[in-house]
Amino acid sequence: MGKRVGMEVSIAAAEVVGLCDVDVIAAYPITPQTHIVEHLSELVAEGHLDAEFVPVESEHSAMSTCVGAAAAGARTFTSTSSQGYALMAEICYIASSLRLPIVMAVANRALSAPINIWNDHADMMMSRDTGWIQTVAENGQEVVDLLLHAYRVAEDPRVLLPVIVNLDGFTLSHMIEPIWLPDKEEVDRYLPPYKPKLRLDPRNPMTFGPVGMPEVYTEAKKAQDEAMNGALPVIIEAWGEFEKQFGRAYRPVETYKTDGAEILFLTMGSISETAMTAVDKMRAEGKKVGLVRLRLWRPFPAKELVDVLKRAKAVAVVDRAMAFSTRSGPLCVEVKAALYDHGVSPYVQNFIAGLGGRDVTVEDFEAMAAKTGDGLSKGLPMAYEIVNVRE
């Protein structure tokens, strides 16, 4: 049986990765790194985990090591953040294009300049089109659950794509809270051993990642797009199996008090918990406000999202990163596109909040709801606003 423990979320993440019997962990151990790989290195050094821990000289090398190891048939793991993630980006594209089921935890942090080590979603948005499946956690329990889910999805022969589990830097990565950790037997029951379809093997030589001439590159990218779309039902199925075994339910799009709501917030990550508290407060005051949380960032669950948002009069999309000059944050751009594609047009107000570690409070959510309600009732043009910014 698993057990309820008090633990830093990063340590719990390392523990569950260890339970997944990873073969190779490659990581750059210096800032911007978390305790995730530090604890994994301890597990390996102390003999609790039979894996290769490769302390590389950069994040670029960390992902390169994972690519090589995964191509040879190993179960691999790495973790990074912000600037390190940016340095890794080149190889992230290669990992997904080679269809290697690498799993990575990203403690989401701002990108410099100005130098800032705190939490926002700039790095998540930077990696939007790297071709990785991306899930988003709201608390420590979800980090553990989603990492376990990540291996099952990534290695499924119908998917074979790398998976990122996003967790808010500091706000989650450095938080101590109660977490239910599964035991080895439970993990083994959920996660079958990895059986690679194709792998680098001297006895059966093959090439991974050759040149793709103009005659084939387009087809390769189309195949990748289809693989990403085809992953959606497998992701949902793996969450269904997770719920059956562990009792905790996950969906691509999750809702909180959306029944009868006229204004719906859309959030990602740990501010969703603060948003729930704000919704409770506003509901108690008779305000028809609800919350939609995007659990799955890639593949983007457009239809599932529109099915929920179309019931509201107004949507307040809370972005935690900039998309310069578009007058919409990166999440809102996609929401608007999805709504347009499905012929639905609620009033959409976009808020940029929580950049570079700026706190997002219950009061902020109340102010955003009031502003959205005001814009809706007065028929104001749909707006874009950076919350609490000093002019």
């Binding site: 080590i117 101590i176 809270e177 740990s270």
Partner: protein
């Protein structure tokens, strides 16, 4: 839900105080969060750490703005940090000091209830180092009952191993010696 703010200096173990409090609460079956004031860590600089404890699942990721209880590990901070900031009227400030509550109130003009203990002396005598993080947990528990001393035992053992017993002793002595204003 109860919120606690710890004031210390980098290297004094304020973050550990917060962690141990949260771990003890979780051991008691409660819900808790512990987190540092995120930023570049500097030895000796004023730092803070935070705890939330609740009987129900905690669903907020806000910073702590109005802590019910404040614990001051280092008396030299009282001159440079407003440790009373944001504390509601029924809050308690728990201070490592040689002064009595009345003397402390007079010299610094505190408005909230005070609890005091000479944790530096206890730490030096029991632990042989002037690190007051575990000692001040005894004062916190005496003043607030936010967790039980028993629940602290497991987390202390896990954290400190062979010197856990001495830390517990310092904690218990502070519990006995803490003076809480009526």
């Amino acid at each position: 839900m109860v919120e606690i703010r710890f004031h210390g200096r980098g290297g004094q173990g304020g973050v550990t105080s917060a962690e141990l409090t949260a771990l003890a609460a979780i051991e008691q079956g409660k819900f808790a969060q512990a987190f540092p004031s995120f930023g570049p860590e500097r030895r000796g600089a004023p730092v803070m750490a935070f705890v939330r404890v609740s009987d129900r699942q905690i669903r907020t990721r806000e910073k702590v703005y109005s802590p019910n209880f404040v614990v001051v590990l280092d008396p030299t901070l009282l001159q440079i940090v407003n440790v009373e900031a944001g504390v509601p009227e029924d809050g308690i400030i728990i201070v490592n000091t040689k002064l009595s509550p009345a003397q402390l109130r007079e010299s610094l003009g505190f408005k909230r209830r005070l609890a005091v203990v000479d944790a530096s002396t206890i730490a030096v005598e029991v632990l042989r180092v002037p690190i007051t993080n575990t000692t001040m947990l005894g004062a916190l528990i005496k003043a607030t009952d936010v967790v039980s001393i028993d629940a602290l035992r497991g987390p202390l053992e896990k954290r400190f191993g062979p010197i856990a017993e001495r830390n517990l002793k310092a904690c218990l002595r502070a519990y006995d010696e803490t003076v809480v204003e009526g």
